[in-house]
Amino acid sequence: MGIPRSYQTQAIVIKQIKLGEVDKIITVYTPEFGKLKAVAKGACRPGSNLGGNVEPLTHSLMMLARGRNLDIVTQSQTIDGFLALKSDLWRMSCGLYLLELVDSFTVVNSGNPPLFDLLLSTLCWLCQTDSSEIALRYFELHFLDYLGYRPQLHQCVICTLPLKPVVNFFSSRQGGILCPQCSEKESESHPIAVDALKILRLWQDCDYSTAKRVKVKSELSSQLRQVIQEYMKYLLQREVKSITWLEQLRGS
């Protein structure tokens, strides 16, 4: 039996670019196949059956037909349009940031169901929660985990000794925490307060309902943000562009 000509999958639309006058190439994240690119024919036409069902930040059930180069979206039905997210500037920007992370870190045709579930859950949490910063950090930590970049937070990455409750250091290059002695050998490491480390450890291992109960002071929150985002920048070898926009919104 050959490969079926069409298949059905759940998908979260993460990006779209225009193709010609009325078509779109959409990038979606699916549980079984990971990231996929597909053509949504006629999606830019007013009255198109695909139209709003293939806009980014939409969770849809899609029917795709295998194409020679790219697959073709034949049907798409929205499961969740995350309307609460799309009607608020900050939440929507957070959502766009998640989509950029997924697009930047993942490769085409490499399924990762837990990552899909994490993305879907985080988008739902962002719709409901007021503690969007915690939702973002929780996503970042677990996202790195599912991609195989889980930072080592329980022992010094170089000497492997357990960490003492003092100011330790985070090294993006080493992928984890360094004790004060080892940090002297590593030029690019950032100090991390005891409380910040405790929170990171907790978030790395707990579920979201526990994570969101943590009260984080704004100073500590920005330290946590900086540490994780520096690490992601190192892994990606470039800036995550949406961060600039989020910073601008935080400042205004």
Partner: protein
């Protein structure tokens, strides 16, 4: 391989235009070769004028050959209404409706965080200074009803709100000829919310 250099140059130039492949480029070049001199000159002159004379209007940032542009100069139009659009090409369809007599402001893009396009890259600061201390009564946000357009509209709303100016957004709903069964949640929800007396 075209041995004649001027023809080869023209073919290469046509080939760079969107949607024109090598064969179409060749056909266009040979077509022009057969046409009278005046026609080729008129085309060349039109292309040169495009780059030489076209600039941005200092008020609305639409493309124009005179500054301020004809719309901004027009005393008949209602200058207390500003319609904010993403691109210059969004203005002609709005004008075609014949229902809008105000003026425009062209942003030259929309906020797209993942592409690194923020408010600094658009003509948002210019809109803000245009609104400060002006007699503008209404700003119509006519950015596209997609994610980038929505982000831009929400950002502009946040910026304009403290100025006490009325802010409106183009209505969203079902397009003519659409099928209710296939409408997405966002559009259908909006269409229901904004339903009108019939």
């Amino acid at each position: 391989m075209i041995s004649c250099e001027p023809v080869a140059r023209l073919v290469e130039a046509f080939n760079k235009l969107p949607g024109i492949g090598p064969k179409s480029a060749q056909r266009l070049a040979y077509y022009l070769l057969r046409r009278p001199d005046e026609e080729a000159e008129a085309l060349a002159e039109a292309i040169l004028a495009l780059k030489e004379k076209i600039r941005l209007c200092s008020l609305c940032f639409n493309i124009t050959d005179c500054d301020p542009c004809l719309i901004c100069q027009d005393k008949e139009r209602d200058h207390s209404k500003i319609c904010v659009v993403e691109r210059p090409s969004d203005i002609p369809p709005l004008e075609r409706t014949g229902k809008y007599k105000g003026v425009y402001h062209v942003l030259h893009g929309a906020v797209s965080p993942a592409q690194g396009i923020g408010s600094e890259e658009l003509k948002i600061k210019e809109l803000s200074s245009r609104l400060q201390g002006s007699s503008v009564a209404e700003v119509i946000l006519a950015t596209n009803p997609n994610l980038e357009g929505e982000t831009t509209a929400m950002y502009l709303r946040r910026m304009i709100l403290p100025l006490g100016i009325r802010i409106t957004r183009l209505a969203r709903g079902l397009p003519f000829g659409a099928d209710l069964e296939y409408a997405d949640d966002m559009t259908l929800g909006q269409a229901l919310e904004d339903r009108q007396e019939f």
